[in-house]
Symmetry: C2
């Protein structure tokens, strides 16, 4: 749609003073958004990491204006924190936030299971199985980053299958934030979802048993949450910020 089929006349006299990337439109911005978002979700950017606008604009070759737009979007999704004069950094969720997020997932994801079981098709089941398999493979090879992202993608896709785009969007947000929570409070040993859980969940959905899928999802989420060690570690670098300010 945005591709120029007609060769632009573009007065040949004008030397390209711009870095000649005007044609892309906002495709570029979306790509950058996803690049940063993925890096955060995959824990390649850890909570607390600073995201300087200059550095990002250098890396991606767009000016700070575009970077700021992306950063604001990430901030609204609460995976980046925008401190007024200090710039952006990867959000470090508090224990309260972690509890809220998992409670919200309990309510929404479990509540969605019934609709998913009703509407799911054979192709959907294949897709979910494939995602679960790729997640397992990634885990086996040791690619934790990929596994984390695939795990979140599984939950997101599941929510989409409910047919409710709004709630699916909420779930996507919650999954992103969950990834951050795992980065902060998760023990490094396992990273949240056991992929066998995902397989079993698909099995229940295939059987059309929404009720069982719901209870299983509830247990699944509880398992993840209880595997976290949610203790506001105020040890090194006592984080006086959280104690007094905020």
């Amino acid at each position: 749609m945005t591709e120029r089929q007609s060769q632009p006349v573009s007065s040949p006299s004008s030397p390209q003073r711009r870095r000649g990337k005007n044609g892309d439109g906002d495709k570029r911005h979306d790509a950058i958004y996803r690049a940063i978002s993925d890096a955060i979700i995959e824990h390649r950017l850890k909570p607390g990491a600073r995201l300087r606008e200059d550095a990002l604009s250098d890396v991606f070759g767009v000016s700070r204006t575009g970077i700021r737009k992306i950063l604001q979007r990430l901030a609204l999704e609460q995976i980046v924190t925008l401190t007024p004069r200090r710039g952006a950094s990867v959000t470090r969720p508090t224990a309260d936030e972690a509890k809220d997020v998992f409670d919200a997932r309990q309510m929404i994801e479990c509540g969605l299971m019934e609709a998913v079981a009703r509407r799911i098709t054979a192709a959907d089941i294949d897709e979910l199985r494939d995602m679960a398999k790729r997640e397992r493979d990634a885990l086996r090879v040791g690619e934790q980053s990929t596994a984390i992202k695939l795990s979140a993608a599984f939950h997101e896709r599941l929510a989409q299958l409910s047919g409710n785009a709004t709630l699916a969007d909420f779930v996507a947000r919650l999954c992103s934030r969950s990834s951050l929570i795992l980065a902060v409070y998760g023990s490094s040993g396992h990273l949240g979802c056991e992929s066998h859980d995902h397989d079993e969940l698909v099995r229940h959905l295939e059987a059309g048993d929404g009720e069982r899928a719901k209870t299983f999802m509830s247990r699944h989420l509880k398992t993840i949450e209880s595997s976290l060690s949610i203790v506001e570690e105020e040890d090194q670098t006592p984080d006086l910020y959280r104690i007094f300010a905020e």
Copy 2:
């Protein structure tokens, strides 16, 4: 709200080349955000209304940069639609979106009632009663705009009382979008919530009866939804966008 009361100190030596509003920080932006958001929620800006950046920057006295930031935020909350080269306009929800929003409200707001009933205090009850009363008063006087906003505020406050900030935020989003849905699909006679419903809801919460509050909230939302006449009226200005593109 939008009037600048305090003349900025604006170092006397420097000739005010800027329009001397540097002191405020981003308080100003938040005020503008709320001004636009309120105008939309109160139906003073109707769905489909165009929001030109130049005009807004003139009205509020900030440059287009700040306006764009605010518009993006509103777009992410889905009460403003950002068409790539056409600018911003107040979102006109589709019938599908309307259904999604009300289904989501059913799930989340009803699911929250139990926690609210458990945690609510006497002061909270007084506050809710006051809000319900002000809503009724506004309706009686004929101030529909105020009534609409108060109704949304009631639901938002209720969600906040659950203690889950994340879900409360979701509810706030859903209420904003609901206001848009009412603007498009609501019959002009009544505007969604009957304020007596809110009073009865508070009564159940006061009694600590979360179960009954939950079922009542469910019926309350169903009443609102069924009062809508959700028919994609493709009459005037046939909205060819939705038919072909998108």
